[in-house]
């Protein structure tokens, strides 16, 4: 997050404290991609991800008084989004029936990557257990350090380290196997 963005969020937080509702809209706009993407990558359902992201911002609105700074806000949003996503995944019905809204959109024209490989990787990431999957998402979506992931997820750094290593080894092995032994 750039210094200017931090200042903007700090300013929006101050205005929210003074009762300016439009400032909360600015906070949502600034962080919506982060919260929505965490939920989307974890749940793999656009409708559930939007619903969850809305819940997270609603909870933020109720707890705005406890937010001290832009950095604290980012940490809080990541933490709540991460825990709510894991909770929702556990509550999700095991039948795996998708609504029409949940069918992924066709690949955009700007895509230059192999859509088959992408889909394969998606499926492999989805097979990881909940916590290692969330750790991988935080690492590669948010570019977070291991200690930051540990703080957000409320687990030890050693647990993050070992589950990341296991998850990546598993992904490498499965991807190589599915591609006929090509090393990745």
């Amino acid at each position: 997050m750039s210094n200017a963005a931090v200042e903007t969020v700090d300013d929006a937080l101050a205005r929210c404290a003074d009762g300016d509702r439009s400032a909360f809209g600015e906070i949502v706009r600034e962080h919506q991609a982060m919260v929505y993407s965490l939920a989307l990558h974890f749940l793999r359902s656009p409708s559930m991800a939007e619903d969850l992201a809305q819940d997270v911002f609603l909870e933020l609105y109720r707890n705005l008084g406890s937010i001290k700074s832009a950095a604290h806000l980012r940490f809080w949003l990541r933490k709540v989004a991460c825990h709510r996503s894991i909770d929702r995944m556990r509550r999700r019905q095991p039948d795996g029936v998708l609504s029409l809204e949940d069918v992924p959109e066709p690949a955009a024209a700007e895509h230059t990557r192999d859509p088959l490989l992408e889909e394969k990787l998606w499926r492999l990431v989805a097979t990881l257990p909940d916590k290692p999957r969330m750790a991988v998402i935080l690492r590669y979506q948010e570019d977070m350090e291991l200690h930051e992931i540990a703080e957000v997820m409320g687990i030890s750094i050693n647990t993050v380290k070992s589950s990341m290593m296991r998850a990546l080894a598993l992904l490498r092995a499965k991807l190589a196997r599915s591609m006929g032994g090509v090393k990745v």
Partner: protein
């Protein structure tokens, strides 16, 4: 082929939510029942750090006062029990002495009665 790290970074890029997301969040905030003004005021009041410390201090004082009062009450009860015990011992001692006196008197009467039986003349004299 790119290494796995790059593949994952590219796969897990941030995506914007569907159009109108912020408006939908704001609409849900408007629709949600807000806390009554009095509760909001109380919550805001309690968020002041000075008040939190004052509350902690008040709790500590209350606990300390309750402890002192309880200790004094226990001391008073113990003193009363000791006094009652002393009085009971004294009463038992007095009763014991009176019983002794009564027994001695009864012995004397019995001995005299036996002497009279053995030697009726002495009674006559």
């Amino acid at each position: 082929m790119k290494p796995l790290d790059d593949e994952l970074r590219s796969l897990l890029k941030r995506k914007e939510p569907p159009e109108g997301f912020t408006d939908r969040v704001m609409a849900r905030i408007d629709a949600a029942p807000s806390r009554p003004a009095i509760i909001q005021r109380v919550v805001k009041f309690w968020r002041r750090p000075v008040l939190r410390w004052a509350a902690v201090a008040a709790v500590v004082c209350t606990v300390a006062t309750a402890g002192i009062v309880r200790y004094q009450y226990q001391q008073r009860v113990r003193a009363q029990a000791e006094r009652a015990s002393r009085e009971a011992i004294l009463a038992l001692r007095i009763t014991n002495e009176e019983i002794d006196t009564a027994l001695r008197r009864a012995q004397r009467v019995t001995l005299r009665a036996l002497e009279v039986q053995k030697n009726p003349k002495s009674e006559m004299e």
